[in-house]
């Protein structure tokens, strides 16, 4: 505010320039994108909390069908988990390259991240198709319905994460590491690591605890 007054008074006394009742230089608001994106992630977290609650309530309602111990293959889940964990660290390496403003190594790390993400999705699709093929689709029991909903929603998030990743790779490849692209890459970083956090809940609560008893 003092800027406005000062410029107004100054131009008044000199009487040469026109009166200015607005800020002559652009005001830079603090960028709130990352905080906003964090808010989105927190609301996404609530979606997952609801789905986890549904699974917690229905996870033992087998309707005479198979239980978790019958259908879950832990070695496959362990492989799946390692794929997602590896994709997290490779994205981290990508961010480190981004901070050094090195475009090409960053794109390579992002590509590797995408491949790990695709491997994760393929394994999950294989698991789903195998279950459905055996007659244990989502319509078999409440347990399987809630299982497919929870794990499927996570898989859908990973799918969109990969779409976003490819988009950003094209964008940074064309425009370079601009401020905007760096901000977008940080947002995707948060999204990607957040999905890994959700997966910790999934493999613990659904797979490991589902196999018990």
């Amino acid at each position: 505010m003092s800027d406005i007054h000062a410029s107004a008074i100054v131009s008044d006394t000199h009487a040469s320039g026109p009166l200015q009742f607005h800020l002559t230089h652009e005001h830079h608001p603090e960028n709130g994108t990352l905080l906003g994106f964090w808010m989105y992630l927190m609301s996404d977290c609530l979606i997952f909390a609801c789905l986890f609650a549904v699974y917690g309530v229905l996870g033992r309602s087998y309707a005479g069908g198979p239980s978790g111990a019958d259908v879950f293959e832990l070695p496959l889940v362990a492989l799946n988990t390692s794929m997602l964990l590896l994709s997290s660290i490779t994205y981290g390496f990508g961010i480190l390259e981004m901070q050094r403003n090195r475009l090409r190594p960053m794109l390579v790390w992002l590509g590797i991240t995408g491949l790990f993400g695709l491997a994760f999705l393929s394994l999950e699709m294989y698991e789903f198709l195998h279950l459905i093929h055996e007659g244990n689709g989502p319509q078999r029991s409440a347990f399987l319905s809630s299982f497919f909903t929870l794990v499927g929603t996570h898989g859908l998030h990973v799918t969109f994460g990969i779409v976003w990743l490819i988009t950003l790779m094209v964008q940074t490849g064309k425009l370079g590491l601009t401020t905007e692209n760096k901000r977008r890459l940080m947002c995707l970083s948060m999204f990607w690591h957040f999905l890994d956090v959700v997966w910790i809940g999934v493999f613990t609560f659904v797979y490991l605890m589902g196999v018990l008893k």
Binding site: L34, S88, H193
Partner: protein
Amino acid sequence: MSTHTDLIPQEGHPDNHGHNHHDTGAGHSTLKGYMTGFILSVILTAIPFWIVMSGGLHTSGMTALVVLAFAAVQIVVHMIYFLHMNSKSEGGWTLLALIFTIVLVVITLSGSIWVMYHLNHNMMPSMMEQQMKNMP
């Protein structure tokens, strides 16, 4: 977390450090931070998988508790090393939002499971028969 700023390679940061920080935000990452997080995550993932795949502990309840504890620790590790969560980012608002979300998640999860468990318990078939008998 403040030690991180000392470890950033300088070439990545042109003269306007303070301004740049606002634009790309979310704390600065270091190789050391990512590797620490990754190694801790691998250990914290491998142990629960090993426990369950080797047949579990004495009781399944005990196993479930241990596995859940490992998951909780791993989530904290991810939050700190991968999501760069600290009390200073965005003036503390991210942490505040996170705490609020955790409160909601805990209420949703424990509330649903608790209520529905008791509902199932009270709707046992034997109970129904008893109630039917008592009916006029």
